[in-house]
Amino acid sequence: MTTTTATPSPPEILERAERLRRGLDLSFRDQIVEAIYSDAQRIASHAVRAKRPAGPTWDEKLDRILTSKLWGFPIMLAGLALVFWITIIGANYPSQAIAFALFKIEDWASALFNSLGAPWWLTGFLWHGIYRGLAWVVSVMLPPMAIFFPLFTILENLGYLPRVAFNMDWLFKKVGAHGKQALTMSMGFGCNAAGVIACRVIDSPRERLIAILTNNFVPCNGRFPTLIMLGIVFVAAAFPPAVASIAAAGSVVGVVLIGVFFTLLVSWTLSRTVLKGEASSFTLELPPYRRPNIGQILYTSIVDRTLFVLWRAVLMAAPAGGVIWLLSNISLGGDSLTGWISGFLGPLGHAIGLDGVILLAYIIAIPANEIVVPTILMAYTGAGMMIEIDSLRELQQLLVGQEGWTLLTAVCLMLFSLLHNPCSTTIWTIYKETGSARWTTIGALMPLAIAFVVCFIVAQAARLLI
């Protein structure tokens, strides 16, 4: 010890550390890690008695199948399709029942208001505006979510998602991205904002940015109801009843696959242009499979996810319902505001296979994608037309019979819903995670541009060919 003072000052300590460091072998940092692991090994050998089973364990057998060349991908696709199929089958009747009940309440309440002598605009704004918006959101969203989330959470708790990332890594490697992007995409199924936050698991800043910017191409639960409704109303209707639900599930899987395709395409483009670089180091732990705890899953997925998301949608739907009612009932020169705006957006909407009302609904739904379908329906039925839509068949009649939707409209709407800009929460999350206004702008506008271009091409091609 060469210290002369009783209490060394911070600079003295730092200076000594610096001097000692210079005297050390350059690999001393490795030595510390190795020392930790050799202690760990010694302690484990004292405390653990493991008898290795004769044959391969259950985990190993499962891994062989779930990651095999032959079965890996088919099982992934089949699992996804099964989840959607159960959701579609299961959500159909509860949706109808809830819608029936809620719209009955609207009738009674508005009749009650009228008999009490309330002015027509109050009844209209409260019951045909705000309340109807809420009723739509609840009946369209609640049943599919209450089925989809628990199913998805089971896969998550089982430990299957890391295997998905493992299976898909080679694709991400090819496009210069990180295999853990598959994990962040899975998270995006629940909520894109959560998916963007989950991108923190990717260490390389370049690859994290790619994952953040492309997370939007995974349809979140806010957009699933749109896809599922379209799948049921248009795709399923074109098939005999026996296979209708399978066809609907297949169409949703198809949309998801298109989303994966665009994720890879955009990742590839980004890593060859603005985010140039080769794929970085990839390490992923494949955790042991765990028995899912069904009680906990039901509780978590219904309370934490379903009600949380539904509540967010309800908060957005109430004002949106009011806005739509106002737009539909304030007339200017003989036409309602809805008519004016959708008329103005009409040509643009037509060019990409949609119509003005759908674009209007997307503008109103920027805060939350969940309310797109309800907003469209409100806008169609809002202008005083008292149509009861308490079954999907009637919904189909409204859209096809009255508003002139075709299969092309449905396809373009599915594509637009998949590709268009993220909701405002996700945009804000991108800003918080990247800290850059530039990347946030790109993250918001790039998908929108892609959505317009893709829908335009599809619409024009379809019109030319058919």
């Binding site: 190795e34 493991a50 493992f166 299976n167 390389s204």
Partner: protein
């Protein structure tokens, strides 16, 4: 007249604001750009003089002018400028750095090599593209930023070409190395440095499959090319490129490179060394892939890659590239039997 006067006044005010606004105005930007340009040329000059000192042939005003792509007159002016600041010694025929100047030069080199490490490890830019980017950004970093970068990268010791990174205290290790073109035939060697300039030659070297840390032996050589043996296969390298590959002596004969990635499912190996630096190294170590660890290849992914390895009881997936960075000795007894 009134409105047009108001408009022109407003325009003048806006223009003045645009120009004079502190830190963001045009004037401030222009000043900053000039300061940076001056810093760039001074630091590049110091780097050149330092490189020549290391090589043993001192820099001259002419060589400096050539390197910086300026006229000799401008170079002379620059030299007297730098001399005025006490960064080079005023004696002797060639240019020599003063201690102060060497410190500054090493600081820039340190920033450059750390940046290269960052660009390769974290942004995964191709080896031949990093030099230009690092050349630009090395001049804009403060000492603290460079230190922070070093810490963030996990204290790498070499840049991606095998050049040592100067420490924050300003010491630079020298690598004892001979050009491969001067290396005797039949003597085992280890590649310790790859010269990255000119990039065309670097492309040749990378194309021949040569990498840092590789064990090689020269089998034959003629005027045109060298035949190299890496313990497993023969490689050809143009003589021109061989003078940009630097090697040092290997105490044992060339051994075939056994890498983790060469294990087939069910096979096992014991880790000898990690062939990577900085953060990549740290991450692998943190997963428990320390030298001496037994690793078993468990199963490949559907596309053959990545592969899952059993390490200390856990299942870890690695891509082929990570597997290539881990040197192993094959372990013949099956893992099942040993536990």
């Amino acid at each position: 007249m009134e409105p047009s006067l108001a408009i022109s006044l407003a325009a003048a005010a806006a223009l003045a604001l645009l120009t004079l606004w502190p830190r963001r105005g045009l004037l401030a930007r222009w000043r900053r750009a000039r300061r940076l340009a001056e810093r760039v040329i001074v630091e590049d000059a110091l780097k050149h003089i330092h490189a020549r000192e290391l090589r043993g042939t001192l820099a001259t005003p002419e060589s400096l002018a050539g390197k910086l792509d300026v006229g000799v007159r401008r170079a002379l002016q620059l030299i007297s400028d730098i001399q005025g600041r006490g960064l080079i010694q005023s004696t002797g025929p060639g240019l020599r750095l003063s201690p102060e100047g060497r410190k500054l030069a090493l600081r820039v080199i340190r920033a450059h090599r750390l940046l290269e490490r960052y660009l390769v490890d974290e942004l995964r830019m191709p080896l031949e593209a990093i030099h230009a980017t690092a050349d630009r950004r090395e001049h804009t970093m403060t000492v603290e930023e460079v230190d922070a970068l070093e810490a963030q990268l996990g204290y790498p010791q070499q840049d991606p070409h095998g050049d040592p990174i100067p420490t924050s205290a300003g010491t630079l290790e020298t690598v004892e190395a001979t050009a491969l073109s001067d290396w005797p035939i039949g003597m085992p060697a280890k590649i310790v440095h790859l010269e990255d300039e000119p990039p065309e030659v670097m492309t040749l070297i990378v194309g021949a499959g040569l990498a840092l840390g590789m064990q090689i032996e020269v089998r034959e050589s003629d005027e045109q090319r060298l035949a190299l043996w890496d313990g497993e296969s023969e490689r050809e390298l143009a003589r021109l490129a061989a003078s940009n590959v630097f090697v040092s002596e290997l105490p044992h004969p060339v051994q075939p490179p056994a890498r983790l990635s060469s294990l087939k499912p069910g096979e096992a190996g014991r880790i000898i060394a990690l062939r990577c630096e900085g953060l990549n190294r740290r991450r692998l170590l943190d997963l428990g892939l320390t030298p001496g660890t037994l690793v078993e290849c468990a199963f490949p992914g559907p596309a053959g890659e990545p592969r899952a390895y059993r390490v200390r009881g856990a299942l870890i997936a690695l891509r082929r590239e990570q597997g290539d960075e881990i040197e192993i000795e094959p372990f013949t007894v099956s893992v099942e039997g040993s536990q």
